[in-house]
Symmetry: D2
């Protein structure tokens, strides 16, 4: 499977390297709007850089496309990929504007070209085992989900300026994970968001760095999400699922399992794996595997366009809850 990568930033480079490493894929070509970036990655990876996205979508030796460009281009590239008959794996979010996402949905409606959205966390071995334990009935009926999701460090100001806000950029992963873990649609959202880490910057940009959210499904299953843009002790990614017969927790990972004992403490462990590229390394590889399987088997992607749209709707509902200080019904968001 020859796959092209659009976007040669940090995440695009990681995907390109993963495509080289994955047994079932090869890297077809790379493109970036900033040509030197594309040239550099192409050269390092031993492929030719494409001069334009259109070139990529038209190429006969490109079997599928992985989109890791700026968010504002995602919907366009998804439409172009579908039009060109090329399966596409697109980084989240589809777009920051729900109306644009809805138009994209209409444009590609009826096509059976696989469109997979990059909610990588569903493919993490621990998170996936947690969901499978629920599916197998190991914890009985699921009642409560607790998702802890804290980044290790504040991104630079330039990142915030285009990210679209904490909930559309960061929490969107947790909204998707909530839907995956609940196995059901949330119908109600209550949210608070604050400016605790860098109040000055967050106020200037009308953004938040800290949030807590509650989601409920129609039958009363409850999900709590907590977010922080920093965590001094490392990237904190936990999922807890509690049911009538037990609980499963997908916990954090470390680079190694050294434990330290001194007069002051026992069992002190190493910091967590630093960030998503390290923590979700296996998830990113499995995500590619699922994409390949979907294309080969002709089955819909495990994480499709509608999943991307649903996560954004939850973000919009949460923003409305924050603004109007009330519980928001998800159906209010169109």
């Amino acid at each position: 499977m020859r796959i092209a990568v659009l976007g040669c930033g940090r995440i695009g480079r990681m995907h390109a390297a993963n495509l080289l490493r994955h047994a079932d894929t090869s890297l077809a070509t790379v493109y970036d709007i900033h040509e030197p970036s594309a040239q550099e990655v192409a050269s390092a990876m031993g492929v030719a850089a494409a001069g334009a996205p259109e070139e990529v979508f038209a190429a006969a030796d490109v079997d599928a496309v992985l989109v890791a460009t700026a968010t504002e281009t995602h919907a366009d590239y998804i439409e172009m990929a579908v039009a060109a008959g090329k399966p596409v794996l697109c980084e989240k979010p589809i777009d920051l504007d729900l109306a644009r996402v809805n138009r994209c949905a209409e444009t590609i409606a009826g096509s059976d070209i696989p469109v997979q959205i990059g909610f990588n966390r569903r493919f993490d071995p621990g998170h996936r085992s947690a969901r499978e334990a629920v599916a197998k009935g190991e914890i009985g009926d699921l009642h409560q989900v607790i998702i802890t999701s804290r980044d290790p460090e504040m991104p630079p100001r330039a990142y915030y300026e285009v990210a679209g806000g904490l909930l559309r950029d960061m929490t969107i992963h947790d909204f998707d994970l909530a839907r995956y873990m609940l196995g059901d649609e949330p119908v109600e959202v209550l949210a608070v968001a604050d400016r605790l880490i860098d109040p000055a910057l967050m106020s200037e940009l009308d953004d938040h760095d800290t949030a807590m959210i509650i989601l409920r499904t129609a039958d009363g299953k409850q999900c709590h999400i907590n977010n922080s843009r920093t965590a001094a002790y490392g990237y904190d990614q936990r999922v807890e699922l509690m049911g009538t017969r037990g609980m499963v927790v997908s916990d954090n990972r470390r680079r190694h399992e050294l434990r330290q004992y001194s007069a002051a403490e026992t069992e002190g462990a190493a910091p967590y794996l630093y960030f998503f590229i390290e923590r979700y390394q296996e998830a990113f590889m499995a995500e590619i595997g699922a994409f390949v399987t979907s294309i080969k088997a002709g089955t819909p992607p495990e994480v499709g366009f509608e999943d991307g749209r649903r996560a954004l709707i939850l973000a919009e509902a949460a923003y409305r809850s924050i603004k109007e200080r009330r519980a928001v019904r998800v159906e209010e968001i169109q």
Copy 2:
């Protein structure tokens, strides 16, 4: 310090036994509205049973009173204790009706007789160490608090009928713990509550068995509480405090530290200590110690009447949030 116990149910008996064990206290007498219960405990503990509460409050050889009777009598006994000049340690809640609590507050206003409310969890060595770590600045500025509080088993129907509802009976401990851990007053409450464990009984009694709550302080510190009336794996009592420089977690305890390894798993540990009498054994003893210290030193109790009132106000705010599907300002509750 000779302390009398009013109420010879399960909790009253525990307190009576603790007063015997504690180095600084002795058991003066016991009383229960059901005389045979009082006789049985009195006999087992080697003291004489009192025939009436008035007798207890009037007795010269009673230095202080511990109230573990039915909730509806708490406020009366607090008022009688203060009138009699006897320090009182009263189980939570003060009353299910905020108006009655407010009247009680007025009645005892101006007195410096110690009135301590039985929020035992503040005295748990783990929870207390967590709070102290924050106070010492070990985690920097506190941003998020996560309180997990799940009972091991549904109480009997008779318990629900007088308990006053999930939030006034069970969550009230967590509201107090939230205030203790935040070191600040919550100003806003968002809550959901559902009937997932026994929907028929909960509907009949208009009660809930599962809840999630978000509290915010004026400066944006966030606290999440989750509750369940059952947890198959045991009494689940955790507190997580996250700040700018780190995190502390007060985790659960087990009867022993056996770990099991098999083809199916590694590090499987024993179930948690079953319920509050086992889990908070040290906390109940320390609570008595703090009461004695307060009396001897003439200092206000660490957990006073106003703490009991504040926790009930948070419960009322949460109920309003559940009913009106909105964020409720704590100041709305009078």
Copy 3:
């Protein structure tokens, strides 16, 4: 059950307090060769001090005797107790001299008065659960036992002068635990012992502060013991049992379960419970319970005189291994 305590040092006092706390026992009297010590404990515990051991053994209102005096008196008091028909719970070791132990065995031979030796660790809930898991077949056939036993701090010089050497004083607990866990007699001993913590003092006293030992049973089950007179991180008491179908580990305990997370580490826990009085608190209580049961039921004590003798024989075998730099057959020691 009215039980007298001989010896009012640190351990005697602990036992006296435990007898008061235990539901099935009361403290009959106390004796110490240093009369003011006996008076002090007697006064604190509300009993009369005895003027001589003979008085204790003759007293009609003493149902049994707990011996916590200096080691050199243990065998005498066991003999006196048996002669007086009083069940006796005697601290380890029976004597530092195997010949004296053997004479004591002959003296009391044929009596069915319960003689229990104070190997408290068998009664620790975690250690006991480990043994029970083996007995229930949960780990299949037992192959390897690892006992880690390290004291938190060096005792004072005066202690060493009468303790009889590291292996007779400290490791003797582990020899007993090895026999209990193996469920079988070791037939061979290999040992090394060194002077790493305080070489000057250890050389002067011809003692050791650090040791490693291997025991083998006739059918090849293996047991490793490691000892150190200090452990900076607290009293380290672990037992690991590995078999054909799995493993169980009885791990250390802490005062509470606080975990700390910072830029430097994750999951840092509190130090271990400081020493045997805290760590084995439940074990000491259960030891008394087993003594009472043995007396009431007329069954032999769970840890009898022969267990005390066997542990000393293993210590002698280990000392011979250290001296002669070879594997010593246990049957060589008479």
Copy 4:
């Protein structure tokens, strides 16, 4: 760095794939005495297979050689590599016969061509961090080392027939790790070995499946090793280092961090990573990195020929201890 791989069995294939993945190396060619195996690996890896070892050592485009052939050929290939001036990374053990190892040492004496022995565990991030903590003084003076090393499953009979015995095949890794962790040479060895898992097969082959060993250094540092050919709960690889100021433990790793809670248990975790290829994946990669560094920098390998010889000497000393039931001085083995 173009590196050739001799030996296309399971470990050779793993090394070949690692050479392709490693940023600093490429796979030059592969050879196996069984030509179809070489062809298969060569084809899968996109290189040409060599027809004979001599061809590999003579090839100008081979910068170094990695030897993963049968043990009996190791010494020959090391000699050939050194003669050809090609750095060599050779799997352990150098040979089962110490005399052959000594002759090989003489043959290559005086050469500065890097000869690295495949003691991969030194490069495990956890084990290495443990050693570094000691080197940095974090635990004070090192006193005791505990190495637990248990394979998940018995190898097939054919493996045993050429492996050279438990201590030369399996424990040899732990002997090297002991030297690495002690930072000093053991001078004395005490060992026991038994036939507990498959007594019939072990007796027939005069081999063992279960062992315990004690090593001592000249200054009295103690090291315990325990081995088992099976562990129902997975590949068990732990190192514990205890010193005057604390302890560090390099613990096992799992594929993910799911924890399970039920009425029967809490915190049950996933089984350990199955075997050395998974558990030591990072170690094998780091081993290649160290080899490359040694070649480029002209520095001696971190794990050189003498390390391989020393580990074998310890195995011989342990076998003598087992046979003669005594402590064996390492200097006795020549």
